[in-house]
């Protein structure tokens, strides 16, 4: 565990060094958040609440979903894929640590740097212009934080799984883009899942993706409460376990195929 946090600490520091890029990314998140919120406000029109989501809740949803984009790295991650292509993966495999945990530790540091630096600043700026909703109780804050942590873990595991295709396909970037786009859309980044028609919501919940974004946000907004929050958190945990099992099976098959060329 000490090794895990040591790796995380270093990648945390690394993530803090790119200040100009962070700022530019933040401006972009803020801008898209304003547009998404405007679209939701215009769609709501006279309605105060639609399917359990209040107008204020919808605006907060737009703000929050933009704020945690960088924390989750939801647009996609190709790090492992690139290392398989370049052969650097050989060095990763020599590390005295499980392959998955090594990458997980790195992403843990990156995620927290972004959460503390970017997500909080974005929410602070939005809160100056809009009246946002906040969790009403300590319990709700607590559930939200747990769920947020799990949503990062779930998203990372999914992205790791997608990256494993690089062991089979020489140029897997197209597959990756496709897969990440699917998870992004079904996670509720574009629209709160709750506003989808019932049939589409059902399809979304057959996948792990709503638990990447929609679930922690609904807990934050108090759309789901108490017992229901726990059910969502349990679902997140189950999906993480399933994905990790899948990762280890596929990783074993992939490593058997892997040939590193010296050089």
């Amino acid at each position: 565990m000490r090794l895990f946090f040591e790796i995380a600490r270093r990648s945390f520091q690394r993530a803090l060094t790119y200040r100009a890029a962070t700022l530019a990314g933040m401006v972009t998140n803020l801008f898209f958040g304003v547009i998404r919120a405007s679209v939701l406000i215009a769609l709501y029109g006279e309605a105060d609440s639609v399917n359990g989501l209040s107008l204020q809740g919808a605006v907060t949803y737009a703000a929050l979903s933009q704020a945690i984009i960088a924390y989750l790295n939801i647009f996609g991650w190709f790090g492992l894929m690139m290392n398989v292509h370049s052969g650097d993966v050989a060095q990763d495999l020599l590390k005295p640590m499980s392959f998955y945990r090594f990458w997980l530790a790195q992403d843990f540091g990156r995620a927290w740097a972004n959460l503390l630096l970017r997500s909080l600043s974005i929410m602070l700026i939005y809160s100056l212009f809009w009246s946002l909703a906040y969790p009403q109780s300590l319990e709700q804050w607590f559930y939200m934080l747990i769920s947020l942590l799990l949503s990062w873990w779930l998203n990372f595991s999914w992205q790791f799984l997608v990256n494993l295709t690089a062991f089979w396909v020489p140029n897997a970037r197209g597959i990756g883009r496709f897969a990440f786009f699917l998870s992004m859309a079904l996670s509720g980044l574009y629209m709160p899942i709750r506003l989808f028609p019932e049939w589409l919501q059902k399809i979304c919940y057959f996948s792990p993706f709503p638990h990447i974004l929609n679930s922690p946000l609904e807990i934050y907004l108090g759309v789901v409460q108490g017992q229901e929050s726990l059910v969502l958190i349990a679902m997140q945990a189950i999906w993480i376990v399933l994905l990790i099992i899948l990762i280890h099976v596929i990783l074993r098959l992939g490593l058997r195929r892997l040939v590193i060329l010296g050089g």
Partner: protein, 276 residues
């Protein structure tokens, strides 16, 4: 004048040749190409799809129906994907790479017009997927709310698309020109290219005043799509601008492109190689 005509013809032929080489190299990985084609189409489909399905609950967005929003959305998708193919050589992240690696200096040594070579340096054919979806969304728009076509409307439509192609192409060129100084691309410019195209995919009257003002009078994007759409759909102008406002689209686009080329020429004069 005669010499100019011959030169232009020669350059067009050269552009065609260089482009042909580009496309052949893209087609050499056929399965990867088709997957890319599919995924770009799919991305557009899902993005528009999520909007379309929530209309089931809401019916309209501040008075505009799904068909009317699809009109805006489809036109932007068509124009942006066309632009993205033609002007891709200027796409700042791609162009900046050439500056960093020094391959841009190589282009300057060749006895061919620089701009021609940059235009021919990249032409991502996979954007055809997005173009096809854009046409599909536009067709849906025409299906959902039939337009009373007049000769003037039919003649004007291509100019609206041209306006947007020039506008966003101009922004790409400005972004590329910035890399003469910054070397790294200017990420904040994405707000105007990707953010701008996203913004004008929705009716402009849904935005807060400060945002709409900025995109009317600082960056005049409101005239590219929203005002032409008012004209095509016979809708009332909520902001009471003069009656010629819907017809500014090509002028705004060409204006931005001309300004961009001026900035480009100016940047080029001040350019020093990175020396790598």
């Amino acid at each position: 004048m005669k010499g100019f005509g011959i030169n232009l013809w020669r350059y067009l032929k050269l552009y065609g040749l260089l482009l042909g080489a580009q496309l052949r190299s893209q087609m050499s990985y056929r399965s990867s190409f088709f997957l890319d084609l599919l995924s770009t189409a799919f991305i557009t489909l899902i993005e528009f799809g999520t909007l379309a399905v929530v209309f089931e609950r809401f019916n309209n967005i501040k008075g505009w129906t799904l068909g009317e929003v699809a009109f805006l959305y489809g036109l932007v998708e068509i124009s942006f994907s066309l632009m993205d193919m033609v002007f891709s050589g200027f796409d700042p992240p791609f162009f900046g790479q050439g500056i960093r690696k020094g391959s841009f200096d190589l282009l300057r040594l060749r006895p061919l017009p620089l701009i021609l070579q940059i235009f021919a340096s990249d032409f991502p054919l996979r954007r055809l997927g997005r173009l096809a979806l854009g046409i599909g969304i536009f067709a849906l728009a025409l299906n959902l709310n039939p337009i009373e076509w007049t000769l003037a409307k039919i003649l004007y439509l291509p100019w609206v698309i041209l306006g947007m192609v020039c506008f966003f192409g101009g922004l790409f060129i400005i972004g590329a020109a910035f890399t003469f100084w910054t070397v790294e691309g200017l990420e904040a410019l994405n707000i105007f290219t990707y953010g701008g195209s996203f913004l004008i995919s929705y009716p402009m009257h849904i935005y807060p005043d400060w945002l709409r003002f900025s995109f009317s009078y600082i960056v005049p994007a409101i005239f590219l799509n929203y005002y032409p759409a008012l004209y095509f759909l016979n809708k009332e102008d909520p902001f009471n601008l003069p009656a010629f406002a819907p017809f500014l689209a090509p002028w705004v686009g060409l204006g931005v492109l001309v300004v961009a080329l001026k900035i480009w020429a100016w940047g080029l004069r001040h350019y020093h190689s990175t020396g790598s």
